[in-house]
Amino acid sequence: MELTAKNISFRYSSSSRRILKDVNISIDNKKILGLFGDSGSGKSSLCKILAGHINKYEGEVRLDGNEIPKGFNPVQLIYQHPEKVMNPKWKMHEVLGESWDVPDDLLEDFGIQKSWLNRWPAELSGGELQRFSVLRALNPKTKFLIADEMTTMLDAITQVQIFESVLKIVKERNMGLLVVSHDRNLMDIICDDVIYLDDINHV
């Protein structure tokens, strides 16, 4: 299984600066890939393109050589800012239920208390929301997970907890994982390979 992005170029509007140029990247389910780069170098934009959150770009994204299927996108993005990707008028069980029925043992693995399911997003802390955002992306149909600064809002112990749970699922389900982070120490532990975005971005 392979997710490839070929010759990706991107800018937000015709008048703004080009963020990505001729970027080629390939992720498979055999090894965990890390991506790092300076702030504003286009890491999050690339993630959004890979996961289909941005549609207007040059180049192509292919899953095993085919176009990304319509409907549920098997490439799921975990956003850097969980509070921005939750409907404030939905309770947490609706936010999670929109994606899939999460079994109780997984809720526990991610340190989610059952009572939180009945809260509004505004009633949870940033770190608590992030666990929901991670779990929501782990729909059984997900083949590739793009983790954009997944744990920056979590304390060190929770970070270990979330990564261990995610890695366990990624391994069990034979998924691909791209980890985007600024923490080189973290990537050295988690990833098999690390790419510096500026090395593949020709702006």
Binding site: G40, Q80, S115, G126, G127, E128, A156, H182
Partner: protein, 314 residues
């Protein structure tokens, strides 16, 4: 050094409606004590959901309307009540917020950094100052006319930092100013905090980034489940953490990727279920007889160090 702010024994709870008109109290912070001196950087570390951001919001007086706050806060020897909070916030007390959601999505970046102006002269002055601060933070003139969605995560952070600096504050509350920034930008942000401290500004740095906290802070306070469980010196975070006192602080230190990435099982008590004993009881390896029955007090070990654990009580 003069005391800038003294927070003593504050508790925060929320009134919630459950099933119709039945109300219940949800306790989130209990008995929290912390002080910051002029020109000092105090870092607050702790588990997510332990009430770090709420402390910041309590000092600023921007808690949601269903929150109840008790205990006392003193600012420069004056009682910090809601009128004073309103007068000081955005002026002498400034916030660098955690979430980029604090930016108005429909307003150009430069306009919202400047805020309201009385007349044209003031606007001109503020604009010049904003340009200078943006320049210092590597935000080019192009950024002035951008909307928040056009900013990268790191740029949005720098915009938030700039906003706080515009009013010449005496106390800056930085609620996670560094996540999503690369090493160079983190270093830069920390330098600005250092610079503020040199100008005699007190800084409350709320963060998960232990490395960043160690680089700038004078003292480190560790939060757990709404309590300060330890106040430590920066040097204590070294080696295998043998100088750290509280078991939670030790496991936090040993969970860092560079220190072994070790997992500690369990979770902190739920909101509203603050136990009568030590909040860390369930996860602790060094439990004593009374730990689940009586809550330990925050005791001073020496001039700077404090801990809330029976192991150190005599």
């Amino acid at each position: 050094m003069n005391d800038l702010i003294n927070v003593s024994n504050i508790s925060i709870s929320f009134t919630q409606y459950v099933k119709g008109l039945n109300q219940r109290e949800l306790k989130v912070i209990t008995d929290l004590t912390l002080d910051i001196k002029e020109g000092e950087i105090v870092a607050v570390l702790g588990s997510s959901g332990s009430g770090k951001s709420l402390l910041a919001h309590a000092i600023l007086g921007i808690l949601p309307h269903n929150a109840n706050l008790s205990g006392t806060m003193m600012y420069k020897g004056e009682v910090l009540n809601s009128e004073l909070k309103e007068k000081l916030r955005g002026d002498e007390i400034a916030l660098i917020p955690q979430s980029v959601n604090f930016l108005d999505p429909l307003m150009k970046v430069s306009d919202q950094v400047i805020g309201e102006c009385k007349d044209e002269a003031e606007e001109k002055e503020k604009r010049a100052k904003q340009r200078a601060i943006f320049e210092k933070y590597g935000l080019s003139e192009e950024v002035d006319d951008m909307y928040p969605f056009q900013l990268s995560g790191g740029m949005a952070r720098r915009v938030l930092v700039s906003t706080a600096l515009l009013s010449n504050p005496k106390l800056v509350i930085a609620d996670e100013p560094t996540p999503g920034l690369d090493e160079k930008s983190v270093e830069e942000t920390l330098n600005h905090l250092r610079q503020m401290a040199e100008d005699n500004v007190g800084v409350l740095l709320i963060t998960h980034d232990i490395d960043a906290a160690l680089k700038v802070a004078n003292r480190i306070a560790i939060f757990y489940s709404g309590y300060v469980i330890e106040v430590a010196n920066v040097d204590d975070f070294s080696g295998e953490g043998e100088n750290l006192l509280h078991p939670y602080t030790k496991s936090l230190y040993n969970a860092l990727p560079e220190n072994g990435f070790n997992l500690t099982l369990g979770h902190q008590p739920l909101h509203g279920e603050i136990p009568s004993g030590c909040p860390y009881y369930d996860r602790c390896d060094h439990r004593l007889e009374n730990c689940d029955k009586i809550r330990p007090n925050l005791i001073s070990i020496d001039e700077n160090k404090k801990v809330r654990c029976f192991k150190y009580e005599r």
